[in-house]
C-alpha cells in the first residue's frame, strides 16, 4: 500500500510537487462546484429571509403532514427490508444452491431500474385498469394515490441496500463460528442471537443507514404513485417540489435544509462507522 512507505526525496514514484498540487486543486474544484456549492446554496436560500420565515415554513401544517408521512413510510420500510434482507443474505451466503448467481443479480435490479419505471409498474398493478383493480374495488381497498403505494414504491427502491451490504460481509466472515456454535449444541435461535447477530450488527446498521437515507429522500417513484394530495399523500421531497413550483423558493429551501441536515447526519454516522467499526464492515468500506 502506497501510504505505508515513507516517501524519500529520491523516491522514483514521487509525483512532482506542481503536478501533485494541480491534481489536488482540480479534484477540490470538482467537489466544490458539484457538491459543496449545492449544500451551501440550500443553507443560504433557506435562511435568506431570516430564521423566523425558515421556522414558519417547517411548522406549516402541510409541511408537518409531509414530515409525518415520510417518517411513517421509513418506519415501515426499514424493518421490512432489514429483516428480509437478513434472511436473504443468510440463504445466499451460508448455502449452495442452483440459481444463486441469477438471484444475486435480481437483487440488484432496483438499483438499475428508473424510479419512474418502478412507479409506473405499481400503477399498472393497482391502477384503474390494473391487474388487481377489480379485486381492490370489490373490497374497497385503495392502494394507488394513497399511503400503501408510497410504502410499496419505497420498498422497491430501497430493496437492495441492506442485503447488498450483508452479503459481502457474511461471505468474508464465513460460517466457521456458526458451525462451532452448532456443534457445541446451540439451537438455531441461540446461534443467531449469540454468534451471527453480534458479527453482523455494524454491517446491518450500515445498510439500514443507507436504506433510510434513500427512503426519506426518494422522489421519482413516490411522485408517480402519490397523487400529490396536499396534507395527505405528500412526502417531504414532494412537498419541496410543490413549494418550488409555486415560486415559494424560500419555503422550498427551508424544507430542503431539513433534508440536507439529515443527509449530513447520515454522512457523519457513515463516516464514524467506517472509521470506528471498519473491521466489522464489508472490506470495501474499511478506512484504515
Amino acid at each position: 500500500m502506497a501510504r505505508s512507505f515513507p516517501a524519500s526525496p529520491s523516491d522514483p514514484l514521487e509525483t512532482a510537487a506542481w503536478l501533485r498540487w494541480s491534481l489536488i486543486a482540480l479534484a477540490g474544484a470538482v467537489m466544490l462546484l458539484l457538491v459543496v456549492l449545492p449544500l451551501a446554496m440550500v443553507l443560504a436560500a433557506a435562511f435568506a429571509k431570516g430564521i423566523g420565515v425558515w421556522f414558519a415554513a417547517l411548522v406549516q401544517p402541510d409541511a408537518r403532514a409531509a414530515l409525518r408521512l415520510t417518517l411513517f413510510t421509513a418506519a415501515i420500510v426499514l424493518p421490512i427490508n432489514a429483516g428480509f434482507g437478513l434472511l436473504m443474505a443468510w440463504a445466499l451466503t451460508r448455502f449452495e444452491f442452483r440459481g444463486k448467481r441469477v438471484l444475486l443479480s435480481l437483487i440488484d435490479l432496483p438499483f438499475a431500474v428508473s424510479p419512474v419505471v418502478a412507479g409506473l409498474c405499481l400503477v399498472l398493478l393497482f391502477g384503474s385498469d390494473g391487474w388487481f383493480a377489480e379485486w381492490l374495488a370489490a373490497h374497497d381497498i385503495k392502494i394507488l394515490f394513497a399511503r400503501p403505494a408510497i410504502v410499496l414504491a419505497t420498498l422497491f427502491i430501497t430493496f437492495p441496500f441492506v442485503v447488498r451490504e450483508l452479503i459481502p460481509l457474511m461471505q468474508q466472515q464465513g460460517s466457521d463460528e456458526e458451525l462451532a456454535a452448532r456443534s457445541l449444541g446451540a439451537g438455531p435461535w441461540r446461534m443467531f442471537r449469540r454468534v451471527t447477530l453480534p458479527n453482523i450488527k455494524w454491517g446491518l446498521l450500515y445498510g439500514v443507514l443507507l436504506c433510510s437515507a434513500r427512503a426519506i429522500g426518494e422522489f421519482g417513484a413516490v411522485s408517480v404513485v402519490s397523487g400529490h394530495i396536499r396534507g395527505l399523500t405528500n412526502t417531504l421531497p414532494l412537498h419541496i417540489e410543490i413549494l418550488y413550483n409555486e415560486f415559494d423558493s424560500t419555503a422550498a429551501f427551508a424544507v430542503a435544509s431539513l433534508l440536507a441536515g439529515l443527509a449530513l447526519v447520515t454522512l457523519g454516522l457513515k463516516f464514524w462507522l467506517e472509521a470506528r467499526h471498519g473491521d466489522a464492515l464489508a472490506r470495501t468500506h474499511r478506512r484504515h
Partner: protein, 287 residues
C-alpha cells in the same frame, strides 16, 4: 417458493445433512419478498409491454417527441457517465495517493450525492447554475447556459453518478502495490508509460463498473434533473419525465412503451455489470 421446492433445487451438502439451520425458511421468505416487492411489479410492466406487440411498441416509440426524449436521455447519461468516470478517477487518485489538509473531508463529501435527496440537489443545482445564480451569472455572459439546457441535465447526472465512479475505483487504487510500479520505473518506464501500462489495466474493471453504474443511474434519474432541465419538449425533456406526462394523459400504452425500453436498458447494464468481473477474471480485485 415453498420449502420443499427449495430443498429440491439445493445441491447436497457435505455429509448429506445441512450443518446450518434455516435454509428453507430464509430462502423461501427471501424469495417471497423479492417476488412481491420487485418481480411482480416488473412482471406487470413486461406483460403490458408484450401486450402492445412489436407494431404497437414501434408506433409509440416512433413519435418524434419520444425519439427526442430518448436521444437526450441516452446521450446525457452517456456523457455524464464519462465525465463522472474521469472526475471520479481523479478524486479517487488524489484521495488515495496524496496527503494534504482536508483529504478526509474530501473523501467524506464524495458520498453526499448518495445521502442528499435528489429533489434537494435538483433545486440547489438549479439555483446555482441559473442566469442569476452564484455560478450561472458568470457563465451565461460567455454564452454558456447551464440551467434549463442540456448542460444542466449532464451536470445533475454527473452529481448523482460521481459517488459510483469514485467508490468503485478507490478500493482498487488502495490495494495496488508499489512493486509493479517500481519495477516499471526501474526498467526505464516514464511516469506516463507506468500509468498507461501498469496502473490503468488494473483500474479498468473498476472504471467500467463505475461507468455502468453511473450510466444506469443517470438514464433513469428523475428527481435531480426535472428542476434543472427546463422540460421543454424536443429540447430538454428526458424520457422518465415523458413517462409521467403520458401517464397523466392516461396514455398508458405510450408510457409502457418508453418504460419497456428503459427497463431493457437496465437489464443490459446489469448484464454488463455481471460480465465485467468475468471478463477480467485473471485479476485479483475483490469486486
Amino acid at each position: 417458493m415453498s420449502t420443499a421446492a427449495a430443498r429440491l433445487i439445493a445441491l447436497p451438502a457435505r455429509r448429506g445433512r445441512r450443518p446450518l439451520p434455516g435454509f428453507g425458511v430464509s430462502l423461501g421468505l427471501g424469495m417471497a419478498w423479492l417476488g412481491l416487492i420487485v418481480l411482480l411489479p416488473l412482471a406487470a410492466l413486461a406483460w403490458k409491454a408484450a401486450g402492445l406487440g412489436l407494431a404497437g411498441w414501434l408506433h409509440a416509440i416512433h413519435d418524434p417527441r419520444v425519439q427526442a426524449a430518448l436521444e437526450l436521455s441516452f446521450g446525457a447519461a452517456l456523457v455524464a457517465a464519462l465525465l463522472a468516470s474521469c472526475a471520479g478517477a481523479l478524486v479517487a487518485w488524489v484521495v488515495v495517493r496524496y496527503r494534504f489538509p482536508g483529504r478526509r473531508l474530501l473523501d467524506a463529501l464524495v458520498d453526499l450525492p448518495f445521502a442528499l435527496p435528489t429533489a434537494v440537489a435538483g433545486i440547489a443545482l438549479t439555483a446555482i447554475y441559473s442566469a442569476n445564480g452564484w455560478v450561472g451569472r458568470w457563465t451565461e455572459p460567455w454564452g454558456l447556459k447551464i440551467a434549463y439546457a442540456p448542460a444542466g441535465i449532464v451536470m445533475a447526472l454527473v452529481f448523482v453518478g460521481l459517488p459510483f465512479a469514485v467508490r468503485t475505483v478507490q478500493p482498487v487504487l488502495e490495494s495496488l502495490g508499489r512493486d509493479q510500479e517500481e519495477a516499471a520505473v526501474s526498467l526505464g518506464a516514464g511516469r506516463f508509460t507506468t500509468l498507461r501500462r501498469v496502473i490503468l489495466p488494473e483500474l479498468l474493471p473498476g472504471l467500467l463498473t463505475g461507468f455502468s453504474l453511473a450510466f444506469a443511474r443517470g438514464l433513469g434519474e428523475y428527481g435531480s434533473v426535472i428542476f434543472i432541465a427546463g422540460n421543454l419538449p424536443f429540447k430538454t425533456e428526458i424520457a422518465p419525465l415523458l413517462i409521467t406526462i403520458r401517464l397523466e394523459e392516461y396514455d398508458y400504452n405510450g408510457a409502457v412503451a418508453i418504460a419497456a425500453l428503459l427497463l431493457a436498458a437496465s437489464f443490459v447494464c446489469l448484464l454488463a455489470l455481471n460480465a465485467i468481473p468475468l471478463l477480467f477474471a485473471h485479476g485479483k480485485s475483490d469486486g
